[in-house]
């Protein structure tokens, strides 16, 4: 981290001057509280709202039956036909048909916490008092919270399969390949459901004024929210303005148009008053989106020298109650199943299975952690079977730098990489040989707590999928000499104000203090995709760079006209125009605008898909008597191509590594027999790594520019969620020498580790 580094947004955020949805003043605003089903699966028989109206300060209470005109959220991201549809190649209309997610339950409850009624009051206290008085009767049905249960259980939607979507990547592998291979590792893994847990939960405020509706929402994609609200409410988009103010984190959980948003917007319009919904932590733990959720089976074949021959990944994903973006997401895992290796045969299959939980959705990493973790856990086991150093096994199989662009058997074209360089840097940074000596010393000492080293080499994808790889960027020169940059992205904590202002200032040769960024407001920014898939620097940054460059060209043209010179006689440097010859005065941007009128350039920029990569390495110590794992050291080497702002990348790497540790060791949602999440004490039960659990983490990087993105940048920020979990679990496996890799099921809570430590050991050492 550069010394003395500060982000432009920090002073505002750290001194309590951030402005979040809950802070927006809207005179006469009502607050909404939702009445939620305690039952995970059942027939809704009766909702009695009338008693709520007797609570002081309650202005209304409605079930679905009371609001016959209430629309449903509908298909994710269904845009006008001329507008590229975002990520929807991953899901399909067929998956959703007949299984629409209602705004309020009409007939059947399909997950614990599904909203059955809404109450609005003068404030949240009164709304909750009213909600507590609403009577709900549900006749329970058996709840199915795992894919296995749902595959053999009754249909969640009458007459339709519980399998919402099936897909595959790569070609099926001939059985003879497995028979002939020197070594075949088979294992089963669970990618547990995770709660994204931003500090600020979901927040939505709808303010109607005449024929217009202004929506304030903690959201990653304001233009998509406007488009979807427009479609759902049947209002022209021009009558809806969506503003995403300061945001307390998203991690992927804030890009959908949720039922609660539809209800609140609908009520605001119906009542002609502002209505706000601020989700609290308990509500969020019950009904905010979940991440991951896959049961995986793998087969990995290698020859006696450790050369990979074939890899097969079979995924049953539990995607929750209604097919949404999460139903298509496991295809991301399938497409990334090849990982960073030259494995010639790779086949991945997916079944997305509907279950009685809240839906899965992209969560930081979004499909890639599941791919990387399955493969890297299996590589660890393969190295043990072969008696080979896990680093050497990987080295033999990494795709070499000379083979890019590399077409994988699962249909990805990797843009660029030097995977072996990242591995080498990770080993050097960790001091791999010293830790291996320490591990071996402890193996010889029965009184020493065992120590293990785990590696994880990953490659991921950034930018999004074809059709969604574009972004809006605009630059405007103001008469006072300042510059306004507009971007279709929406920061949920990624330092856009600092990074983008600096990028535009650098392109124009100006002081960054003269550049002001506007984003996250459909009233101020003409168009936009938003911030997801690690795409903002890669694509939004490119759009801003191009807009700034075009602005320079236009400024030179105007000066040429003004000075009656050919344009090649007008020079630009450090934000100033001057003639190539002569002593004519120089002209600043502000002066040019004052002399010639408004100067504004809007650009839409498209980028290719990029493939960031890296190697993570962890050292752990295990208290085998208790099963407690202590991470002694974590090294994360990431390559995101050209880093626009290395300090921001560093911060993102650190934060995501901590979230990766969370998946490996702490986070999980237990369910009771009736399908309700067992988190009665909120964050005292769903444990996040806190400061005390964060080990010494060393972040290092290599830089391999992307040839397919305008700035050479690849996405950053999801690396830790992708690379870290397998490094930590592999380290525990190394410490315990467990024969069955499936025993180390995440999260590696002490009871899991204790049982694994007592299980049969792997026979051979290395």
């Amino acid at each position: 981290m550069p010394h003395g580094y500060a982000r432009r947004e920090d002073e505002r955020l750290l001194t309590g001057r951030g402005r979040f949805v809950a802070d927006i003043e809207a005179p006469g605003c009502l607050e909404a509280a939702f009445v939620r089903s305690a039952v995970a699966h059942g027939e809704l028989r009766e909702v009695t709202c009338a008693p709520a109206l007797e609570a002081p300060g309650v202005l209304g209470a409605w079930s679905a039956a009371d609001l016959p005109g209430l629309p449903s959220p509908g298909l994710p991201a269904s845009g006008p036909p001329d507008e590229p549809v975002l990520l929807t190649t991953l899901t399909s209309a067929e998956a959703v048909a007949g299984r629409e997610w209602p705004s309020l339950v009409t007939e059947r409850v399909r997950y614990a916490g599904e909203a059955v009624a809404v109450v609005v009051g003068e404030d949240r206290y009164r709304a909750e008092d009213g909600a507590a008085r609403v009577g709900v009767r549900v006749d329970p049905l058996p709840a199915m919270v795992t894919a296995a249960a749902a595959l053999r259980g009754p249909a969640l939607f009458d007459g339709l399969s519980n399998v919402a979507l099936e897909g595959s990547a790569g070609a099926p592998i001939d059985e003879a390949v497995w028979r002939r291979a020197a070594v075949v590792v088979e294992a089963c893994y669970r990618q547990q459901l995770l709660l994204p847990t931003p500090m600020e939960c979901r927040a939505f405020l709808a303010v109607p004024r005449g024929q217009e509706l202004t929506v304030w929402c903690s959201h990653q994609m304001p233009h998509r929210l406007r488009r979807e609200l427009s479609g759902i409410l049947g209002w022209p988009a021009g009558r809806i303005r969506v503003v995403a103010p300061d945001c307390g984190g998203a991690f992927g959980s804030k890009s959908a148009t949720f039922p609660e948003y539809v209800v609140v917007a609908y009520l605001a319009a119906m009542l002609g008053r502002p209505v706000r919904w601020i989700e609290d932590r308990l509500e969020s733990q019950l009904v905010a989106t979940r991440g991951r959720g896959q049961d995986q089976r793998v087969r990995l074949a290698a020859d006696a020298d450790g050369r990979l021959l074939a890899y097969e990944l079979t995924i049953d994903a539990d995607v929750g109650a209604y097919p949404h973006l999460g139903a298509g997401l496991p295809m991301q895992t399938a497409k990334m199943a090849t990982g960073p290796y030259t494995t010639p045969l790779v086949h991945a299959t997916v079944r997305s299975v509907l279950t009685n939980t809240m839906m899965t959705y992209p969560y930081r990493g979004a499909g890639r952690p599941e791919a990387a973790t399955a493969l890297e856990r299996t590589m660890e086991e393969l190295a043990r079977r072969l008696g080979m150093d896990p680093a050497e096994l990987r080295r033999r199989n990494l795709i070499p730098p000379g083979r890019f662009p590399y077409d994988t058997p699962t249909g990805r074209r990797y843009d660029s990489g030097d995977y072996a360089a990242a591995l080498a840097l990770a080993l050097r940074t960790l001091d791999y040989d010293r830790w291996r000596a320490e591990r071996d010393r402890r193996r010889a000492d029965p009184d020493a707590p065992p120590l293990g080293i785990g590696l994880s080499c990953y490659v991921e994808r950034s930018g999004g999928e074809p059709g969604g790889l574009h972004e809006f960027g605009g630059v405007e020169a103001c008469p006072d000499g300042t510059v306004v940059a507009r971007c279709g992205s929406a920061s949920t904590g990624q330092s856009h104000e600092t990074t983008f202002s600096a990028l535009v200032a650098d392109t124009l040769g100006l002081d960054p203090a003269l550049v002001r960024l506007i984003e996250g407001d459909t009233g101020e920014v003409a168009d936009g995709m938003g911030s997801f898939a690690s795409r903002t620097a890669q694509i939004g940054g490119a759009a801003l760079r191009r807009a700034a460059e075009t602005l320079v060209e236009q400024a030179r043209l105007r000066a040429a006209t003004l000075w009656e010179l050919p344009v090649d006689q007008v020079l630009w440097s450090a934000g100033t125009l001057r003639p190539a010859r002569g002593v004519a005065p120089t002209l600043g941007l502000g002066e040019l605008v004052r002399a010639t009128g408004p100067l504004r350039v809007d650009e839409r920029c498209t980028s290719g898909m990029a493939f960031p990569f890296g190697t993570h390495a962890a050292v752990v110590e295990v208290d085998v008597d208790l099963g407690a794992v202590r991470v002694l050291r974590l090294v994360a080497v990431d390559d995101c191509g050209v880093a626009l702002n290395p300090a921001a990348v560093h911060g993102q790497a650190l934060g995501s590594a901590v979230q990766g540790i969370g998946q490996a060791l702490y986070e999980g949602v237990p369910y009771d027999d009736d399908g309700a999440p067992l988190l009665p004490n909120g964050l005292l039960d769903y444990l996040l790594p806190t400061f005390a659990e964060v080990p010494p983490i060393e972040i290092a990087s290599t830089s391999t520019p992307s040839p397919v993105t305008p700035l050479g940048a690849k996405g950053a920020g999801e690396s830790g969620c992708i690379g870290t979990p397998a490094a930590v679990v592999n380290a525990v496996a190394d410490a315990l020498r467990v024969a069955d890799p499936g025993l180390l099921r995440m999260p590696l809570t002490p009871d899991v580790v204790w049982r694994a430590a007592r299980a049969p050991k792997a026979g051979d050492d290395r």
């Binding site: 008092d129 964050l683 809570t749 002490p750 009871d751």
Partner: protein, 312 residues
């Protein structure tokens, strides 16, 4: 979850507080540190009609030695005991070893020892210590004052001998003699959460023989426990030298006491990530560790303690 509506009174004397608590129709609760009660109210697990805020009651924050015991007033905050000098001799050390496991510094600055006893969470560290030490809980109600021994006080999870309308004015923790070694060990998933198991131990040794062993268990049943069977197994055993290595050998009295605590004293309740089999195992390990540490504590402090305490 927002707090439900409630009435609020802030008395300034104990009699006023007891008066305020007296009306059974008002479902009154005492508000001291509020670190558990307010959370329970938000979670809908407590819905008092009246909160009696005792923070302004004079004298309740006293911590003093009287009649061979440390008297901890109802407003003494957890963090007071972060210093081993807050109580004389081994007791001060035990309380200091215990308190660092309670939540984190902001909560320790506000929450109270007596509040933990009133809440009576099965995983409460102070409750395990109170049981191990034969603490006395001093209650004041409309009918007058009474004292309940810790051994008679805990009836279940959040269930105690305290009846509605009673205020706990103090807890009395007997001082520990100079030939006593103490330990508190805890196992939890992160520094933030409740203990999966915690053990308080005090070993008194005379002439190389364990004269008395006191073991309190947190989260080993539906309520805090005292490990009577394990304690009995230790009485009269040779104290021996401090145990070398990570764990006592299986035949060592400390290891045996651990197994007895796990099998005979504990009644573990299943929880996510801690089924009874795992929890019994952890109890055995932690009791063994606590006894080893108490023994080491004694060795480290032998010759340094003076009767009456080592308070400067």
């Amino acid at each position: 979850m927002k707090l439900p509506a409630f009435d609020y009174l802030a008395p300034s004397t104990v009699p006023e507080a007891v008066d305020a608590l007296a009306d059974p129709g008002r479902r009154a609760e005492v508000l001291a540190g509020g670190q558990s009660l307010l959370l329970d109210m938000r979670l809908g697990r407590a819905g008092p009609g009246l909160l009696v805020d005792v923070n302004g009651v004079g004298g309740l924050d006293q911590v003093r030695v009287r009649d061979g015991a440390l008297e901890v007033g109802a407003l003494a905050r957890h963090r007071v005991f972060e210093s081993p000098a807050a109580a004389p001799g081994p007791l001060g050390r035990l309380l200091a070893l215990t308190v660092v496991h309670i939540a984190h510094p902001p909560i320790r600055a506000r929450g109270t020892v007596v509040g933990s006893l009133a809440w009576a969470h099965p995983a409460s560290e102070w409750c395990a210590v109170a049981l191990a030490l034969d603490a006395a809980i001093e209650l004041r109600g409309a009918a007058g004052a009474r004292t309940v021994a810790a051994g008679d006080y805990f009836h279940g999870a959040h269930a105690t001998a305290r009846v509605p309308g009673e205020l706990i004015t103090a807890v009395r923790l007997p001082l520990l003699g100079p030939a006593t070694g103490v330990a508190f060990v805890e196992h939890r998933r992160t520094e933030f959460c409740f203990a999966q198991v915690a053990v308080a131990a005090a070993l008194t040794v005379r002439d190389g023989v364990i004269a008395e062993a006191r073991i309190g268990l947190a989260n080993c049943a539906d309520r805090p426990l005292r490990a009577h069977a394990a304690e009995r197994s230790l009485a009269g055993a040779e104290a021996g030298p401090p145990v070398a290595g990570r764990r006592p050998p299986p035949e060592h009295p400390f290891a045996r006491a651990g197994r007895i605590a796990a099998e005979r004293d504990a009644r573990p309740v299943p929880e996510p990530y801690a089924d009874p089999e795992y929890r019994r195992h952890v109890i055995a390990v932690l009791v063994g560790r606590a006894l080893c540490q108490a023994s080491a504590d004694l060795a480290a402090h032998t010759g340094h303690d003076r009767p009456g305490g080592d308070r400067p």
